[in-house]
């Protein structure tokens, strides 16, 4: 299983520095107790058997020549550069509030990743077309442990789209991912993550970012699948004018369980952040929303806002919200708002009076709630298929 032998296997013939990084992580991993997710009754979770991941996942595009893209599992010649980037995350862990994905899962991804990409937009390079990454799971590749590092150097701009998906409805698959992101001065980076696993698969995903002076990072996480899905998105706005936003959408039906964490650590003056989450719960779905806005000492004139809206479609759903606002500075503006409830009956009645069935009317209203965020998805094909997926789920 996940032991020294496996680490030795994974590091044989690999780049030295990254291999030693795997071994360091394993040294932590082996002593860590595995945490539970009590709110969604995910107790004593067993990692499935390791399996290599060999599926082609990157769509080559014209006009991306200036971009640096490497596979983290290859024998890399720029490992020093990668390690320098990774070292910037050291000592950046913020103790207060939601602690993100359990350390066992994090160190597991660092020690045993079976795929992953290093993507860098060099200084002053502005890319219009998004980079598309498809992590597809199938019978041959049922375990995905991706370790990604995305760097937007000074004054660059880049959009990256991750599509986690599977066709097989009976496959029991597992994903544990780690994506680290660095946004340098004046750079703009957009990241879209779509998760559409089947009802037998488990998803764990951790996203950690550092944003520098006037840098801007926009996340669009879209959660539509999985049996258990635990994700975390933690951003540190390190310097003056750092900006970050999260526009999250989730749709949970059946017996799906979601535990979604979002966190903004404000360290720089005039830094600004926005967390927006829109979701629908149906059947016996359970969801936990954790959203932290943390204004650390020194973050004068920072602004942060957090908004959660959840539509509850059945009496059997479970919806937990844990929004937190922590402040160590007086000259900040922080606010959060949560609204939860049923679909507005008057609107429903109006739509039905215009000839729509109740199901159609509900569907229309869910779409209306999601559309402002879906509109941000840069690829039309992906946007279309995501909207379709939601439609099918509401109908079922």
């Amino acid at each position: 299983m996940y032991n020294k032998k496996l680490v030795d296997n994974l590091t044989t013939g690999q780049s030295k520095l990254l291999s030693s990084r795997r071994r360091e992580s394993f040294d932590h991993f082996k002593y860590l107790a595995q945490g539970d997710y009590k709110r969604i009754n995910l107790i004593d979770y067993q990692f499935p058997e390791y399996n290599p991941y060999n599926k082609e996942y990157l769509k080559e595009k014209k006009g991306q020549d200036e971009l640096l893209i490497k596979r983290m599992t290859d024998n890399l010649n720029n490992e020093e550069e990668i390690l320098n980037y990774l070292d910037q995350f050291k000592d950046k862990k913020v103790k207060k509030g939601n602690q993100g994905l359990d350390a066992k899962y994090l160190t597991m991804a660092e020690a045993f990743y079976n795929t992953g990409l290093f993507i860098k937009a060099p200084k002053n390079v502005k890319l219009k077309l998004p980079v598309e990454i498809f992590y597809q799971l199938d019978q041959e590749n049922p375990v995905l442990i991706d370790n990604n590092l995305i760097v937007a150097e000074e004054n660059s701009s880049l959009t990256v789209v991750f599509d986690y998906r599977m066709q097989d409805q009976n496959l029991e698959a597992f994903h544990n991912g780690l994506t680290r992101v660095i946004v340098k001065d004046n750079a703009v980076l957009n990241i879209v993550k779509v998760q559409r696993f089947n009802d037998q698969s488990d998803n764990f995903d951790s996203n950690i970012s550092l944003v520098s002076n006037q840098g801007e990072l926009n996340w669009i996480p879209i959660e539509l699948g999985g049996r258990n899905s635990v994700t975390n998105n933690e951003n540190t706005l390190m310097n003056a004018g750092s900006r970050a936003s999260i526009s999250s959408v989730y749709f949970a039906d059946g017996d799906r369980k979601l535990d979604l964490g979002f966190k903004m650590n404000h360290q720089g003056r005039h830094s600004s952040s926005k967390i927006e989450s829109k979701g629908v719960l149906k059947d016996r779905a359970q969801k936990v929303f954790r959203g932290d806005l943390y204004f650390q000492k020194g973050a004068g004139q920072a602004k942060g806002s957090e908004k959660e809206e959840v539509l509850l479609l059945d009496k059997t759903v479970d919806s937990d919200s844990i929004p937190a606002l922590f402040s160590e500075e007086d000259n900040v503006e922080g606010e959060h708002a949560v609204s939860a409830g049923q679909i507005d009956e008057q609107l429903l009645f109006y739509l039905m009076s215009r000839g729509l069935t109740k199901a159609e009317a509900k569907q229309l209203m869910v779409e209306a709630a999601f559309n402002p965020i879906f509109a941000k998805i840069p690829l039309n094909d992906l946007k279309g298929s995501v909207i379709n997926d939601v439609k099918t789920r509401i109908r079922s």
């Binding site: 937990d320 500075e329 900040v332 708002a337």
Partner: protein, 467 residues
């Protein structure tokens, strides 16, 4: 960056007048079954109460100190003398109350307050109620307002039926401790349909060094009854850490309405770990008005359990954390019946390195269809030495509900100051007005005598220093 508003600490000289401690009986330090038996014997309690205490002690010993919230590692639990009986017998005539104790109460204005239309005064000095009075008309209507010790004997059935049923020793370490060593407090019983139109007031006070205060308040409102209970706290300062672990159990029956107001103003060495709960039946109403100003550490989260259909809860709270204070407060509401409603309105102010923490829970169970709830938390930070945190947890288990939550943190709005100044008001006065306006929703909920105390605590001080 604009100028900062200077807001001074509350003047505590009035409240920190200490008497030389003089005690008739003081239990040995540390907690053993023998100590508990002695307390029970002193109080001449029925056997079931002693058994209850011993069982709670057992639970207390096996429970862990909570690891979340405040740091209470400075609190030396074994050294807290759990029972301090003042050198006074229970008095119903003010003239017979010992002079020393009287002086302290006089300084706090209790007799005056009574003159001003209070129904009764249950003043607690240390752990024992020393003075009790209830207007005759109330007694005629069957209203009971007495100290808990006597209630255990005189209204044994009622007490036995309700005592620590809402807050059980199993809930947490401090409720177990309370169950074992509780002493003093008030018992209120309002029969069906009776409207106690003047507030019942009880003033708690701690005097002996190292003593804990574990008063128990039990209020039962029968169908359609109406009452307002006011609890106020103040303690003189000593160097030994003090612990307050009281319990408040409120039973609001069908159609009854209870307002429970508190101004907590313990001295700055107090650990205030109080537990308060209300059970509200059909069409019943509980209203909490809560001001937290004193203590070194507070962890206080009054809970309203809306058990009957259309029951309603309202919470209005102000927390003011100044230098050296960590005040962790909030409201909990459980919607467990159809069409129940709740409103939580919390305001907190942090200054001079104080730490204000709002921690709340809103839960709607599968039974709570048609429930409506709104939670609003606002925090004002007066400088960047202080800290302010907000953590309102929501747990929703049904679809047909309407839940809204809002929270804000920030400092005095410069635009508002600018606007007021453009209308000819000085900058200092403008800022003072804004701070006063911030706590106004709570001040206006309190009866006059207490609004005056609140004024002493905030408004006058703000005005005096800013102007």
């Amino acid at each position: 960056m604009g100028e900062k508003t200077e807001v001074n600490d509350i003047d505590r000289s009035l409240h920190e007048e200490k008497n030389v401690a003089k005690h008739r009986y003081q239990s040995a330090k540390g907690l053993t079954p023998e100590v508990i038996k002695e307390i029970s014997r002193e109080k001449d309690e029925p056997e079931w109460m002693l058994k209850f205490r011993l069982k709670a002690l057992e639970i207390y010993k096996n429970k862990e100190v909570p690891t979340w919230g405040a740091d209470i590692s400075d609190l030396d639990m074994d050294n807290i003398i759990t029972y301090v009986r003042p050198d006074a017998d229970l008095q119903s005539d003010w003239d017979q109350v010992p002079e020393e104790i009287k002086n302290t109460f006089d300084a706090l204005g209790i007799p005056e307050a009574e003159k001003e239309s209070l129904a009764g005064v249950g003043a607690q000095y240390d752990s024992e109620v020393v003075y009790h009075n209830l207007k005759e008309e109330m007694v005629e209507q069957g209203v009971v307002y007495m100290d808990m010790e006597n209630a255990v004997k005189e209204h044994e059935d009622l007490v036995k039926q309700h005592f620590m049923k809402l807050i059980t020793p199993n809930d947490h370490k401090f409720s177990a401790l309370h169950g074992a060593v509780w002493s003093g407090g008030s018992f209120v019983y309002v029969p069906a349909g009776v409207d106690v139109n003047i507030p019942l007031q009880s003033y708690f006070r701690q005097n002996a060094p190292g003593s804990g205060q574990f008063e128990h308040t039990l209020i039962i409102l029968e169908e359609g009854a109406n009452a307002h209970f006011i609890e106020g706290c103040s303690a003189p300062k000593y160097s030994v850490n003090n612990l307050h672990a009281g319990a408040v159990e409120l039973f609001v029956n069908k159609g009854a309405k209870l307002r429970y107001s508190t101004i907590e103003n313990w001295s700055r060495n107090m650990y205030n770990l109080n537990t308060k709960r209300a059970l509200v039946e059909e069409d019943g109403v509980i209203e909490w008005v809560s001001g937290s100003f004193g203590s070194k550490v507070s962890m206080l989260y009054p809970m309203s359990i809306l058990k009957g259909a259309r029951a309603r809860a309202e919470f209005t709270g102000v927390t003011f954390a100044a230098e050296g204070q960590y005040l962790d407060t909030g409201a909990q509401v459980i919607h467990d019946a159809p069409n129940t409603t709740s409103t939580v309105n919390s305001r907190s102010i942090a200054k001079d390195g104080g730490h204000a923490y709002y921690r709340g829970l809103l839960k709607a169970t599968r039974n709570a269809h048609g429930a409506k709830a709104s939670v609003s938390c606002e925090s004002l930070m007066l400088d960047n030495e202080s800290k302010s945190d907000t953590l309102p947890i929501m747990k929703l288990q049904t679809d047909d509900i309407d839940i809204g939550h809002e929270a804000k943190v920030g400092r005095i709005s410069e635009e508002a100051v600018f606007y007021l100044m453009s209308r000819g008001i000085s900058e200092e006065e403008a800022k003072a007005m804004i701070v006063r306006g911030f706590v106004e929703p709570i001040a206006s909920e309190l009866p006059l005598e207490y609004a005056v105390e609140l004024n002493n605590l905030i408004n006058l001080e703000l005005e005096g220093t800013i102007g």
